[in-house]
């Protein structure tokens, strides 16, 4: 434990700014993965254990697109669109067959695809780790805000993730499609009886979830190394986020992800040997005091 470092940091604006943005970066990427997970659970009632694979595919798609085109924007687009299509196919061909099935069966199908997707990546891109590289536009000196260090790329990353969160939140709350999705989450039988194609909604929601994870992967690609199996560690943290925030709640995913980001960021100063443990400890506290998570009752 190193409480002096932590209190010292809290007293200094430079450190506060640096660590807070660091927490935001970790949190916002985590949010993009976790929100897809929570959305799919909220509507489809399926815990998608293969969700990390979409994060991985997003990163690989972005890297490939970037290598061929040299355009960062196109790389992000390919990462997101590619995984959306993949999500749609995956849902329609495989997941839709196990909706009524036992949860163990769903788990088994998802786990099988974790392994299959990893091997697919290994076959296409090879088993070695890869790096996409930072686009030239972002290879600049970091900004100094109140003495704290903030890399411009991370500002973009936080901005894109926040925009995605707002579009998603508003879209679900204000648009007709959003209403139908919320209705389908609440009572799919009734929605179907009203003549709405629930299969299409399910496929769409799965594609949307996949797309968000893919976007997270694409945004992370310039700063994280790409390996088959890279989705797994992200998936575990995303589960912690959804458990803390409450399964099925978008706001919960956002708050949960930011909390985990801050715990990692400030925890590494104050409790360098217990940062991971702190995350789980926090999860346990939430689960004991609110078993449904912080925003568990609110169904998307």
């Amino acid at each position: 434990m190193d409480l002096d470092a932590l209190t010292g940091c809290l007293a200094s604006s430079a450190c506060l700014v640096t660590q807070t943005t660091s927490g935001f970066i970790i949190g916002m990427l985590l949010f993009l993965v976790a929100v897809g997970l929570t959305l799919i659970f909220g509507v489809l009632k399926v815990v998608n254990f293969s969700h990390g694979a979409f994060y991985m595919f997003g990163a690989y798609f972005a890297m490939t697109a970037y290598q061929f085109s040299g355009s960062f924007a196109l790389a992000m687009l390919c990462g997101a669109a590619g995984t959306a299509i993949l999500g749609l196919i995956f849902e329609r061909v495989f997941m839709s067959r196990v909706y009524g099935a036992d949860v163990l069966m769903q788990l088994l199908v998802c786990y099988a695809f974790v392994l299959i997707f990893d091997d697919v990546v290994r076959m296409i891109w090879g088993p070695e780790f890869k790096s996409m590289g930072m686009p030239a536009a972002f290879q600049v000196v970091p900004l100094f805000i109140a003495g704290g260090v903030v890399p411009p790329y991370y500002l973009l990353l936080i901005g894109v993730a926040l925009a995605a969160a707002m579009i998603l939140g508003l879209g679900l709350a204000r648009t007709r499609i959003g209403k139908v999705i919320r209705a389908a989450a609440h009572n799919p039988g009734m929605v179907s009886a009203l003549g709405i194609n629930t299969g299409l909604i399910y496929g769409g929601v799965f594609a949307l979830g996949g797309m968000l994870a893919g976007l997270a992967g694409a945004l992370a690609a310039p700063v994280r190394s790409l390996t088959p199996g890279m989705g797994f560690s992200v998936l575990i943290e995303s589960f912690i986020v959804t458990v803390i925030g409450g399964m099925g709640s978008i706001l919960g995913a956002l708050i949960g992800a930011l909390l985990i980001g801050m715990i990692r960021s400030f925890g590494s100063l104050g409790f360098p040997l217990f940062t991971e443990g702190l995350m789980y400890l926090f999860m346990v506290i939430v689960l004991v005091s609110r078993p449904t998570g912080l925003f568990g009752k609110e169904v998307a």
């Binding site: 780790f129 000196v141 890399p151 940062t275």
Partner: protein
């Protein structure tokens, strides 16, 4: 016509189980690999890691071995017997490595083992070699204790890899020189949180402080192995404001770390010493390699700067379309030593080769002076090229390497062994 098998154990399976039982019962009494010693080909077994996150360890080890075996076979093999490699995946699990090693000897009839496991698996294979008495060459484990600890010593096991303590001595003395010249007093460390990271960092710091006693470690970070994000570690180091940073992160973890530290401009704020940087696995992957990272040589074809080394690196690249790794030269050395020892003993017999290996000095592209030696007393490789230099973002990546001095290494290694109670 198809037949449906009834559930339960079939007659064939029963026979197979009985057969396997007979072999395992027979093993303690008669060693089957000796019985087959007169075959025309000689099988060499190689347990290694061919799948998972460190599959590159296995593939680049295998590639180097096959490159050398081709040459040896073209020149007549081991005492006239053609070498046949049997390479198996242990998936990086020690118990699997031990099982595979045992099976290679007992079932496949391998007469020699090339143990291309990482340290965790190497100790398991070592026990198998102890039990079966088969000649075993450890090629990838750099953990010093494997050969330094007399409890581990067996006459039939050798190491053809570099050694952690050698690296620490050379790295510590190199860093101390720079620290003194540039006045780097405040240091931070950032290494993966498992045995290798902890041990290597501790040894490095020991020698750094020995050569430059006024150095102070003001911040330590221990990210998890394979952690995807290092942002909190990067910012923590920035807060501590050290003058220099040591790291033994490797592979994908190192490249992630560099990418993430780069956008915080960390490399312009302190001197960075990353022992595992100068290996093509990392050098060729990082897109924006900062200039001036200090690194130990793992494998680069420009150090030692000899035509032999460059030719070897190019031949490997021509055949496999990628550059060799640190594991590649360590495995190639095993085959080179085997071939020479077999020639000297004029035999392919494991015991005779082992006898010839002790103290054997051979010409090598990887030698500090053009030769490497299998030291007789602890059966480990010495005299290999070892040095440190700074990176540039394009080939040759590390243009100038400052060679480590083997005389100093031997002195301090002897001292270290004494302090550990090994001698």
């Amino acid at each position: 016509m198809t037949r449906t098998r009834k559930p339960g154990v079939s007659r064939r399976a029963t026979l197979a189980i009985m057969g396997a039982g007979a072999v395992s019962i027979a093993t303690p009494f008669g060693t089957p690999w000796v019985a087959r010693a007169q075959a025309k080909t000689i099988k060499i077994g190689m347990p290694t890691i061919l799948s998972g996150r460190v599959a590159q360890l296995g593939t680049s080890s295998r590639n180097a071995v096959m490159l050398e075996i081709e040459k040896v076979n073209a020149a007549g093999g081991l005492a006239g017997r053609t070498i046949e490699m049997v390479i198996r995946d242990s998936k990086g699990q020690p118990q699997e490595a031990a099982r595979v090693a045992r099976e290679l000897v007992n079932t496949d009839g391998c007469e020699i083992l090339i143990d291309a496991e990482a340290s965790s698996g190497a100790f398991a294979v070592h026990e198998v070699a102890r039990d079966l008495g088969v000649l075993c060459l450890h090629t990838n484990s750099e953990t010093s204790a494997l050969t330094a600890d007399p409890k581990q010593h067996i006459p039939n096991a050798f190491r053809t890899a570099r050694q952690g303590v050698h690296d620490s001595i050379v790295g510590g003395s190199y860093a101390a020189t720079i620290a003194k010249a540039k006045g780097l007093k405040k240091w931070a460390t950032c290494s993966p949180d498992y045995a290798y990271g902890r041990d290597t960092t501790a040894e490095y710091v020991t020698y750094l402080k020995r050569f430059a006693p006024d150095i102070e470690i003001i911040s330590e970070s221990w990210p998890k192995l394979f952690q995807p994000d290092y942002t909190e570690v990067v910012t923590k180091i920035l807060q501590a404001r050290p003058q220099a940073l040591y790291s033994c992160l490797w592979g994908g973890d190192l490249t992630s770390y560099i990418d993430q530290a780069n956008i915080y401009a960390l490399f312009s704020q302190m001197e960075v010493f990353a022992v595992n940087m100068a290996d093509y696995t990392a050098l060729t992957v990082v897109k924006n390699l900062p200039k001036g990272i200090h690194s130990g040589n793992r494998y680069i074809k420009t150090y030692p700067a000899t035509p032999e080394n460059a030719a070897w690196g190019d031949a490997y690249k021509a055949k496999y379309n990628e550059y060799p790794t640190n594991w590649s030269w360590e495995n190639a050395t095993a085959i080179m030593l085997l071939a020479e020892a077999s020639k000297k003993a004029n035999s392919a017999d494991g015991k005779k080769i082992a006898e010839a290996l002790r103290g054997l000095k051979i010409k090598s592209p990887f030698g500090a002076d053009g030769t490497v030696t299998m030291r007789a007393e602890d059966q480990t490789l010495v005299g290999y090229a070892i040095g440190w230099g700074t990176t540039i973002p394009q080939e040759p990546y590390v243009p100038q390497v400052q060679a480590g001095d083997w005389k100093t290494i031997f002195e301090l290694e002897a001292e270290w062994k004494k302090s550990k109670g090994y001698t």
